[in-house]
């Protein structure tokens, strides 16, 4: 894109072309993330309403309350932004943005379709996990800087929980990485092209089980119920968000949804074929770059839709959990992590390793070999 823009500009203004290209990329990513937040916010309220035998939003923007998120956003923007007297003002103001930055930086390395990624990275899986784990710093700082004991409890809980759950999460992510033989998310996604039987979750029984451990850890690492201890309403008022109001509060909120979607997409790419649909429709229709650039573009768009649907299925699953289950206690959260998730993930890693050694082609290839 920068090269294309450069043709319109004199040589000495080449930097302008680069800046414009970068700005467009950033804007695209930002709009994508904001749309995800807005839609998730609406969906959460609607799903919660349906689960609870009520309607959810119905007024703003037509029959289904489509514009509820806009109304919520306007309300939050116009609310007073309070800083408690006992707070560390500087850190208090900064903490939400730290959270926000961490969860949005993840999108830097998340491919949205084959090759549609802001920054192609050799170690993308690792990078996504690392950056997603940074969100906890903002939460801890928010908890500490609020100068409230409830916030402090929330921050401490978050620190303990997220640092612990990063371990099984990384172990679970290591298994599909090992099966695919690369940490590049684009490459991992492309390897699962073909059909749903090529997805890594169906690679062997171990990856199948790993997915469920991954699911548990992913829900825990983005602090959703039943692991939402950091903001446990009935215990800690609102945890680290107790003292926040207005826009700053909504920034935390956006960060939460953004990381929910990021972790769903990560799961989709690692286990569910990413942008490859259950049936290879795009390649059957010939929507690849080899045929025509425009066809490749259409195929990418189809892949994007695929990925968005998969990501949203993940988000809807998390919402379903949140509105159904009670919350765990902090010691039980730790027990789940240390006594169940880590040993299970380690065992799965070992199992998948042995499977890859014995039957390199995966379950499908094994079946084919057996039949042939």
């Amino acid at each position: 894109m920068a090269e294309y823009l450069k043709t319109f500009l004199p040589e000495s203004y080449a930097w302008l072309a680069y800046t414009a290209a970068a700005a467009v990329h950033v804007a695209l990513l930002f709009v994508l993330a904001m749309m995800i937040v807005a839609v998730s916010n609406w969906a959460e309220r609607k799903i919660a309403g349906r689960l609870q035998d009520r309607l959810g939003p119905t007024r703003v923007g037509g029959r289904f309350g489509w514009l509820q998120s806009v109304a919520d956003g306007l309300k939050l923007l116009t609310k007073e932004d309070l800083v408690p007297a006992g707070a560390d003002r500087f850190l208090f103001r900064l903490a939400p943005y730290l959270c926000f930055c961490a969860s949005f930086s993840v999108y830097l390395a998340l491919p949205m379709a084959s090759g549609w990624v802001a920054q192609p990275m050799n170690v993308a899986v690792f990078f996504v996990l690392a950056v997603a784990g940074l969100e906890v710093l903002g939460v801890i700082l928010a908890g500490y800087a609020s100068g409230s004991k409830w916030s402090l409890f929330g921050g401490m809980r978050e620190a303990a929980q997220v640092v612990s759950y990063e371990v099984p999460l990384a172990l679970c992510a290591a298994i599909p990485v090992m099966v695919a033989g690369t940490m590049d998310l684009v490459e991992i996604g492309n390897r699962q092209a073909g059909g749903f039987w090529q997805w890594q979750i169906f690679h062997d029984p171990f990856t199948f089980l790993t997915f469920f451990v991954f699911l548990t850890c992913a829900v825990a690492s983005v602090n959703r119920a039943p692991f939402d201890l950091a903001e446990a309403e009935s215990e800690l008022v609102a945890g680290f968000m107790t003292e926040y109001s207005g826009f700053r509060w909504s920034v935390f909120f956006m960060a939460e949804y953004a990381s929910m979607f990021a972790v769903s997409v990560l799961g989709a790419i690692l286990f569910f074929g990413g942008w490859n649909g259950p049936l290879p429709v795009a390649s059957l229709l010939g929507l690849t770059c080899e045929n025509h650039p425009l066809a490749g573009y259409l195929g990418g768009l189809l892949g994007l839709c695929n990925l968005l649907v998969k990501g949203y299925l993940g988000i809807i699953f998390m919402m379903w959990l949140r509105w159904t289950l009670p919350r765990l206690r902090i010691d039980q959260v730790m027990t789940v992590c240390l006594k169940y998730c880590i040993p299970l993930a380690a065992a799965m890693l070992l199992g998948a390793m042995l499977w890859c050694y014995a039957l390199p082609g995966g379950l499908w290839a094994a079946v084919e070999n057996f039949g042939g």
Binding site: S234, E235, R327
Partner: protein, 401 residues
């Protein structure tokens, strides 16, 4: 009975840090009103809990000493505002006992009908908010939906949804409107499957069991020592229900009614239908048992409502005359306890012979139930406090009066 007492020693924890003094309430979401708990914690471990009450004190008893006996009925509504009918009944029976005033048979059955419906509503609220305290929001809405239906029935009967003043000294304020009985029957029919739903999302939910089983274990001895009553006492395995074991003036209201006193005696609950089994991790007297007792009592109350519906329909018209405001009370004093939804609600009236009582006193069940909280919470985690408090099911209006 396989009881386990909570270790009274403060719990030693691994990584020791500073003790923190935290104020839980009076504006905390899970203190069920304006209760204030001062927690002394070491990290997440609670070393000491001190409840502070009185934020909702409204001098109800003193007001009662300046009003005619029947005029105080609306004030009883505002004590346990989740079970106004039971409060009305307690005061009405107390004054009736002083007056030796009999109510007609139709009024008796109507009272049973209304009071047991209110018990269902109150227990639904308790079950829902218990779930909410443990972080499960949706069952709360289900409970509220059913409670709304009961409140609709009450609104049809007396015009009010929360503070009814329906049962009064000498009978009831009005008879049921035409068409009320079929509506009540329809509600019972609809409600039956909802109980199974609630059992599915609450009682047998694995997380809820782990959060509430063996948490806040109250031994029967301690329960009796602290004067705990109602589902809290029965949750500890003491089969004691004033509807059966109380003052004859009260128990004769239930003459001829069949119901079970819900408590785990001899290792099992009285069961007339299939309920989720008691989980292996649950200890008698813990939060789970208190919750379970309420869930089973709802079914008993449904049975009582059904019986009352049938009996009420057979009675001749006449639901008693409300006491005239100028009617002089006989000299003397009466204390009567009734089985309200939260426990034994006692009212005392002392009369010097005038129409206005000389002394009025209310014995709050929630107050006694709350008094055991510091014992139950010693050494628990912060997350357990809402569980224990929710299982005690207190109402601050009644505690502070």
């Amino acid at each position: 009975m396989g009881l386990e007492r909570v270790d009274p020693e403060p719990v030693e924890c691994d990584v020791r840090t500073d003790e923190i003094l935290v104020n839980m309430g009076p504006q905390h979401p899970s203190t069920h009103g304006v209760l204030r708990l001062v927690l002394r914690t070491d990290g997440e471990v609670v070393l000491e809990v001190t409840p502070h009450v009185g934020y909702l004190h409204r001098c109800a008893e003193k007001i009662g000493e300046n009003l005619a006996a029947r005029q105080w009925i609306p004030y009883t509504d505002r004590m346990d505002y989740l079970a106004g009918m039971n409060m009305n009944l307690g005061w009405a029976l107390t004054v009736e006992k002083l007056l030796k005033l009999e109510v007609p048979e139709r009024a008796r059955h109507l009272r049973v009908l209304i009071v047991e419906l209110n018990r269902i509503a109150s227990h639904l609220m308790a079950a829902g908010s218990f779930g909410l305290d443990l972080g499960s929001f949706t069952p709360f809405m289900y409970c509220f939906r059913e409670r709304e239906k009961i409140l609709d029935l009450f609104e049809l009967a007396c015009g009010a949804r929360l503070t009814y003043s329906y049962i009064t000294v000498g009978g009831l304020m009005a008879d049921l409107p035409p068409g009320w009985l079929p509506k009540c029957e329809a509600f019972l029919k609809d409600f039956e499957p909802v109980i199974d739903e609630l059992h599915a999302v609450l009682t047998s939910n694995a997380i809820l069991i782990r959060r509430s089983a063996a948490v806040g274990v109250l031994s029967p001895e301690m329960a009796i020592d602290y004067g705990c009553t109602g589902p809290v006492l029965r949750g500890s395995g003491v089969a004691w229900d004033l509807r059966r074991h109380g003052d004859p003036w009260y128990t004769r209201m239930y003459d001829g009614y069949r119901f079970e006193v819900i408590a785990q005696t001899a290792g099992h609950y009285p069961q007339d239908r299939k309920y989720p089994p008691v989980p292996a991790v649950a200890v008698l007297g813990d939060s789970w048992h208190r919750f379970y007792v309420r869930m089973l009592e709802v079914v008993q109350s449904m049975g009582l409502v059904r019986q009352a519906l049938e009996r009420y329909g057979r009675c001749p018209a006449g639901i008693g005359e409300p006491l005239r405001l100028t009617q002089k009370l006989p000299k003397g004093e009466v204390y009567l306890e009734t089985e309200a939804t939260k426990g034994q609600m006692g009212f005392m009236v002392v009369s010097d012979g005038s129409a206005i009582p000389w002394r009025v006193r209310a014995r709050s069940s929630s107050f006694c139930n709350l008094s055991v909280l510091p014992e139950l919470c010693r050494g628990c985690l912060i997350g357990d406090i809402p569980a224990i408090l929710g299982s005690l099911d207190i109402v601050l209006g009644e505690i502070d009066r």
